[in-house]
């Protein structure tokens, strides 16, 4: 570390507030507002090169940058955890460039950037949840041409997606898709919820919070406003099921939160722990209070 970057005040002067320049922010902000007006529709934007590789949340970080205000309390999670590399580096990035307060507590955060999870703690009005999205187009693996998928959205032509889900049932007896499970937003656009486990899908429906999605490499922004109907695609005889590993967290004992499977010994012994580290901490605290 050189002398310059030790001085926090200097760091802030080196960058514009929250890193991105004002012209870029304006472009992203216009896209975000149109995205909120057309829930689930992917608005193209001219994504910038960020000081991190694609796949590390360059879309999310641009959306966060355009939304941050000095008073914000920022939380960043990666697969539910506050202490993984991706989360730690993005949190530090905004501490350095926007000088915002940070927290690990979901209920204290005003803006949460997430990779692949929705926090277990219920979100509140005016909280913003920014998702990092790798492939924003739910139809992309079924139809590689952008010109075609755009037309399919315009015509609400989603037969192909239903065929895919049907083939799952024909082959496996149930819908195999376990993450990035497609949803229909406000009864109109089929939307990719980003690679969250389908356990989290119901949390998107009618949420009081503002959900924004950024895909940096694919140059798309989309949004799900609060109190919006978000329905996971399914069939009458094969209704959608949110599922998780049928165990209890071996740290906090919770049986209703999403669990990560970890291997704890050389002979392959397994254990399950909450993927949401903040929720796990809160539950552990609650448990120790009960014991007192």
């Amino acid at each position: 570390m050189n002398e310059m970057s030790k001085n926090e005040n200097l760091d802030i002067q080196i960058y514009n507030f929250a890193y991105l320049d004002e012209n870029t922010k304006r472009m992203i902000r216009r896209a975000l507002l149109k995205a909120l007006c057309i829930p689930g529709y992917q608005v193209p934007f001219s994504s910038r090169e960020m000081p991190m590789p694609y796949g590390w949340g360059t879309g999310g970080i641009q959306v966060t940058s355009a939304c941050l205000i000095p008073k914000d309390i920022l939380k960043v999670i990666d697969q539910g955890a506050d202490d993984t590399t991706n989360a730690v580096s993005i949190r530090k990035f905004f501490q350095k460039t926007a000088n915002v307060a940070v927290t690990e507590k979901t209920s204290d955060a005003s803006l949460i950037q997430t990779r692949h999870r929705i926090p277990e703690t219920k979100l509140k009005e005016k909280q913003i949840l920014v998702y990092q999205v790798p492939i924003p187009e739910p139809l992309r693996f079924l139809e590689p041409r952008e010109t075609e998928t755009r037309k399919m959205h315009a015509l609400s032509e989603y037969g192909l997606m239903y065929v895919k889900l049907y083939e799952d049932i024909a082959k496996h007896g149930h819908i195999e898709t376990a993450y990035a499970y497609p949803v229909k937003t406000n009864g109109n656009y089929v939307t990719d919820p980003s690679p969250i486990p389908k356990f989290d899908n119901p949390k998107m429906n009618n949420s009081p919070a503002i959900q924004l999605f950024g895909a940096g490499r694919e140059q798309r922004i989309y949004a799900i406003p609060p109190y919006t109907n978000v329905k996971s695609l399914d069939f009458e005889d094969y209704p959608f099921e949110a599922m998780k590993a049928n165990f209890k967290c071996s740290i906090c004992g919770s049986s209703d939160s999403y669990l990560d499977e970890i291997i704890v010994s050389d002979d392959g012994k397994r254990s399950y722990i909450c993927s949401d580290t903040d929720y796990c901490k809160e539950q552990t605290k609650l448990n120790s209070k009960k014991e007192d």
Binding site: R26, M27, L36, E125, H153, P226
Partner: protein
């Protein structure tokens, strides 16, 4: 410096944008905007929207009350925006009456519904009709007063195409995006 719209550009514009995000996310609810340096004819809220969102790619239509040297010079100097006609406008500013009929404004195309105009409606001196609104961002149906609600119903029928509205009044802003469904409350006659 005191003549610039915002005293601290990046900070003020971020705070202004958060109000816009909240207003757009929760239609029919009023949100507060801060004061800024602006031409006297514009409200703080309307001027804030223009300064926060417009740049040299934005076509702005000014209705006749707002199409003055003062507004044009202020807007072009601070944002680089292009003064445009109704048909090409991305942002539209005017009183309700001066903007009618709405048919000239762009509503987007099925492949690109976002290529549509954002209308900023200044002043509240229009004939108010009691309405009930519902849709994305609205928890329980809300009662609000709207001018010519039949036009908002028509606009919502175009969904996912359509116009997006911001009502601005001094320091207040309220949004009615295209996704909002409008019911006219029948008066007891």
């Amino acid at each position: 410096m005191e003549n610039y719209p915002f005293s601290e550009n990046s900070i003020n514009s971020s705070i202004a944008f958060r109000s816009l995000v909240n207003a757009t996310s929760y239609p029919g609810r009023t949100f507060q905007i801060n004061k800024l340096n602006k031409p006297s004819v514009l409200s703080n809220a309307a001027a804030t929207i223009l300064i926060t969102l417009c740049d040299n790619e934005s076509n702005v239509y000014l209705s006749k009350e707002y199409n003055t040297d003062e507004v044009r010079n202020w807007l072009i100097f601070n944002t680089g925006a292009i003064i445009s006609n109704k048909k090409n406008a991305d942002f539209v500013i005017g009183t309700w009456k001066s903007l009618l009929p709405l048919n000239d404004f762009k509503i987007g195309v099925p492949e690109y519904p976002e290529r549509s105009a954002t209308l900023i409606i200044e002043e509240t001196k229009y004939k108010k009709v009691k309405c009930n609104i519902d849709g994305p961002g609205i928890k329980n149906k809300l009662n609000i007063d709207l001018p010519n609600p039949e036009l908002f119903i028509e606009n919502n029928n175009l969904y996912p195409l359509g116009l997006d509205f911001y009502f601005t009044n001094d320091l207040e802003i309220l949004s009615i995006p295209r996704s909002t469904k409008i019911n006219i409350i029948k008066s007891e006659l």
